[in-house]
């Protein structure tokens, strides 16, 4: 499992390294500083725990960012509280003291007595590595921060031995004596603890003991992991960054505490520095702290201080005549001692050497080394530059180390000359030129050609490097784009001095899906070493191809435009049926008048005729029945009017049947009265 994890980590980091063309490390720079402010953002003016506060403050201090005043009040309160409380855990006391070391919340002679005795007791009774670590390191911090106390460990050598007892034969350490699992991370903690014991010891610790620790350290270096580009790291369950940082911290303290000095392999120390610089800018606060703290340890230690060679840019532009700049600095970006940088070799892509043994000039103002003159045969392309750093004798005291050789991929770019660009339509069988046009590829042309399937299209141009050699670009495409968005790409290949593409349409009809019509011609020329890469719309060609046979393949579909997929549709409103056309109201009224006229004429006629109702019965009984009869008729007529106005058929019929019976009865009475009266008249 572990090995697989590791292999994967390796693969991915390698992939990163390969993609990231320059596997050149860069020292810590301003981008780290601005990132630090984002990473270590306190919540409401203070950090969640003292551990986090320490990590943030330490990282900011190393990077030279002064945020102490903003943070000190809240954090200091916590520190004082922890130091005053007798029940604080060892871990909290340790981190409180660590924070105190940076913020100086509590200083001077005023030694917190209970704390000291607590730590001393802790160191004496400790069984676990972490207890040793917190109490011993805590005591070291008290010694640094508060003057005038006797903090010597009574039984330093015994403590040293009990810590040492936790070590394993492979250089790793266990966290406790009854836990067999060992870890590299713990080894780092153990070194720090032992360093503390040595510095607190009243008398010298037995050299043989120290010597066994040193051999342990060398053993630990046997388990170091390596990448192909010379990067080294320690792996462990805490993750490579934490583990490696812990080991480096431990080594630095250990080397600082004893006088004989550690003799560690220099290439591995540089590899460790490259590992941390290769991490980039971690987004996680813990990783960020580990990276910065470990680099700070590498910056200032007693075994070896790695120097890092970095290039502001791995691209040299031959047109701008920029010099190649190289910087050498320590991992945190501070100035390197006097030294000289030599370009040992510059290999081109074929592996042959172009530049040999050339010393770079030094510009003291910008502290850069530069190479301003390139040999005459230095052309565009990809190179591998091999640099060597030569330290001056005087600078060697501090134990500076460098990589033996730094290989840097360099891309030299330049303006590529484009000449003799022409496009022509040829007759297929004879090869005679039908129409030929010169092209200026830097501008969008408006070439307009036409061809049928028996003809050929020829495009040719010449590309030359600044040295006048033939240049073969990585990208030289001719694109034919039909009106229906169907695209065809053709490679323009270089033959001899000329890049040429001949399209024989007879052989291409199937590939062009028998689509006749207008094709836009687009030429793209580009290369990583070409500064004037171009995308040129040459113009268009009108192709006249034969009809598509039944079985020929159809042109491929094209994705629909996402913007047109949605969006409002056009509104629909219903068209209502047009009502029938009716005559004007006035016309109806006129006709109503005309209809009423006969009735009036009838009334007038009646009066003219001199009608009378003299035979209306005079007897009371007959008159009553006659009145009821006519009233009945009137009621029926009124019923009809009501029927028209509002009644429905059922009510009307009901009322009508009642009225009908009534009418029958009174009608019969009236008519019989009338008949009796006329009979009387006749008989008289």
């Amino acid at each position: 499992m572990m090995a697989r994890c590791l292999a994967r980590f390796l693969v991915s980091l390698l992939a990163l390294a390969i993609c990231n063309a320059a596997s050149v490390s860069h020292p810590i720079s301003d981008s780290h500083r601005s990132a630090a402010l984002d990473v270590f953002v306190p919540l409401d003016g203070s950090y969640k725990s003292l551990e986090e506060a320490y990590e943030a403050l330490k990282s900011l201090e190393i990077l030279g960012i002064d945020k102490k005043s903003d943070l000190s009040s809240g954090t200091c309160e916590n520190v004082v509280k922890v130091l005053a409380s007798p029940s604080s855990a060892l871990k909290d006391v340790f981190y409180a003291l660590s924070v105190n070391g940076i913020l100086k919340c509590k200083t001077g002679e005023d030694v917190p007595k209970d704390i000291v005795s607590k730590l001393q007791a802790g160191a004496k009774d400790a069984k676990l590595l972490l207890d040793f670590y917190y109490s011993i390191r805590g005591l070291v911090l008290v010694k640094e921060q508060f003057s005038g106390t006797d903090l010597t460990l009574g039984d330093a050598e015994a403590i040293f031995r009990s810590v040492k007892a936790l070590s394993q034969s492979d250089g790793r350490w266990r966290y406790s004596s009854n836990n067999a699992e060992s870890s590299t991370f713990a080894a780092g903690l153990a070194f720090e603890t032992l360093a503390g014991v040595i510095s607190l010891a009243p008398s010298e610790i037995d050299q043989s003991l120290i010597q066994t620790v040193k051999t342990g350290i060398l053993k630990l270096f046997d388990s170091i992991q390596k990448y192909d580009d010379g990067t080294f790291y320690f792996d462990g369950s805490e993750g490579p960054i934490s583990t490696t940082a812990s080991v480096i911290r431990g080594l630095t303290s250990f080397a600082a505490s004893e006088s004989t000095g550690l003799n560690l392999p220099g290439d591995k120390i540089v590899g460790l520095a490259k590992f941390f610089l290769g991490v980039g800018i971690p987004g996680d606060a813990k990783d960020f702290f580990n990276q910065i703290d470990a680099l700070a340890c590498l910056e200032d230690n007693r075994f070896s201080v790695p120097l890092i060679l970095s290039l502001p840019s791995t691209v040299i532009s031959l047109t701008k005549k920029e010099p190649l700049k190289v910087k050498v600095s320590t991992v945190l970006g501070s100035k390197a001692p006097a030294l000289s940088v030599k370009l040992a070799e510059a290999l081109n892509s074929k592996g042959s050497s172009v530049i040999n043994n050339q010393e770079l000039k030094f510009d003291a103002d910008s502290a850069t080394y530069f190479l301003d003159s390139f040999p005459k045969n230095f052309d565009v392309g990809k190179y591998t530059f091999v640099f060597e750093i030569l330290l001056d004798e005087s600078a060697n005291e501090k134990g500076y180390i460098t990589e033996a050789q730094t290989k840097v991929p360099i891309a030299a770019t330049g303006a590529i000359g484009i000449e003799n660009a022409e496009i022509a339509v040829l007759d297929s069988d004879v090869g005679s030129i039908e129409s030929q046009k010169k092209l200026d590829l830097t501008k969008d042309g408006v070439v307009s050609l036409s061809a049928n399937h028996l003809q050929k299209l020829r495009l040719s141009f010449q590309l030359t490097t600044p040295l006048g050699l033939v240049f073969k670009p990585h990208q030289a495409f001719l694109k034919l784009k039909h009106e229906s968005q169907v695209e065809h790409i053709f490679l323009v290949k270089t033959y001899g001095k000329k890049a040429e593409l001949v399209l024989d349409f007879l052989g291409l009809v199937e590939k062009l899906y028998y689509l006749s019509g207008k094709y836009e011609i687009q030429l793209t020329i580009g290369d990583a070493s070409m500064e004037n890469s171009l995308l040129s719309n040459i113009g268009h060609i009108e192709l006249d191809l034969p009809e598509r046979p039944e079985k020929a393949p159809l042109p491929p579909l094209h994705p629909t435009d996402p913007y047109s997929r949605y969006g409002p549709k056009s509104e629909i409103s219903h068209i209502f049926r047009v009502p029938e056309k009716l005559p004007a109201k006035q016309l109806s009224l006129i006709f109503l008048g005309l209809i009423v006229l006969p009735f009036i004429a009838f009334l007038i006629g009646l009066t003219r005729l001199g009608v009378n109702i003299k035979s209306f019965p005079s007897s009371v009984g007959a008159a009553t029945s006659a009145l009821l009869f006519h009233g009945g008729i009137g009621a029926v007529l009124l019923l009809y009017v009501l029927f028209w106005l509002k009644l429905d058929l059922f009510t009307t019929l009901k009322a009508l049947s009642l009225l009908g019976v009534f009418l029958l009865f009174v009608g019969h009475r009236t008519l019989s009265n009338l008949a009796a009266a006329s009979n009387k008249l006749k008989s008289a």
């Binding site: 840019s313 409002p568 006709f591």
Partner: protein, 435 residues
Amino acid sequence: MMNLSRSVALISLFLLPLLSFSFSVDNPTDRRVLVLLDDLSLKSSHSIFFTTLKSRGFDLDFKLADDSKLALQRYGQYLYDGLIVFAPSTERFGGSLDSKSIADFVDSGRDLILSADTSASDLIRGIALECGVDFDEDSSAMVIDHSSFSVSDGDHTLIAADDLVKSDAILGKTKIEAPVLFRGVAHSLNPTNNLVLKVLSASPSAYSANPSSKLSSPPQLTGSAISLVSVMQARNNARVVISGSLQLFSDRLFRSGVQKAGSPNKYEKSGNEQFATELSKWVFHERGHLKAGSLVHHRVGETDEPAIYRIKDDLEFSVEILEWSGKSWEPYVADDVQVQFYMMSPYVLKTLSTDKKGMFHTSFKVPDVYGVFQFKVEYGKLGYTTLSLSKQIPVRPYRHNEYERFIPTAYPYYGACFTTMAGFFVFSFVYLYHK
């Protein structure tokens, strides 16, 4: 023992509201996200992306892609609402996970972020293919662009892309000013799949090839047909982001400055962080998720919904549409929501006007065709979830007594009737009593 079980019960009681705080219709933002990595170091190299997710309240569960205990569901219940697959080289997932179970996961309406990279495995390609995305078959190919690359790059494979989809729903209202840095593999979209769309496209001069070897045949993918990052919104509103570059999400590119070749503008920070953050807001339904209330309709001047309309009735229609903001439902404002009055085909199609408080309304006259109609609101907008609502309502013709009663044109006929009746009445006197 007794005590233990009691405390377990107590704990689960406390946990209950926590558990119910996961994916639901009323709270569509994902909460529990499984992150599959092919290497745990990605956790620290991509930590900014993960930290922003955590700070927005997501519960990230990091697992190695070949962890043998991987499972998306247990006892038929999904354990996660979202899945991030940052494992481009994984050939086989561990546990019960495979490309089919990921497809099922998306089919259940859950969301996915999938990132491939150069040398992406067949497994990752297969999952992408299910979403309508075809990665370049050549496993050594990368996107190369000699015109819009980042100036710091000598290989022209670090693309400074700025051809972003124009959609506030997907990429947020703030414009992404700085170009987005991309280094990875190209893909194209399946033309028959209309659910997938390009979010970040390459420039016309881009192509997909192996940068370190000469081309012997034309590249499969060129120009703006290359998609760098695509999204898919399934019909069930599950969302998928597919990126051709894992580095796009990395801390290194988040923090990196960018200057596009040939452009004088230099940006302190690339657009990657904003792009990735906004895209993750979209994919986990913190934006662009719509919810509609029921369709409300009634006759003009009334408030109750009738059981049936008569032809030519005037009616008022309204619907409430809300958008999920990640925390609460906010009123949705748009001017392109439409309603259809539909029977086999739309008889009326009207754009609704909004009161900016989430209510959309309109009024129209019922067509003079009777039958069973539907009010239909089918709303789709780029980046938003689709709404599809309908409500059935019958429409009847006039009843016999609802026609016009006193037609002016018929006045002569009415007049004829009544004068005849009056004449008869008069005549009855004259006839009977004349002497």
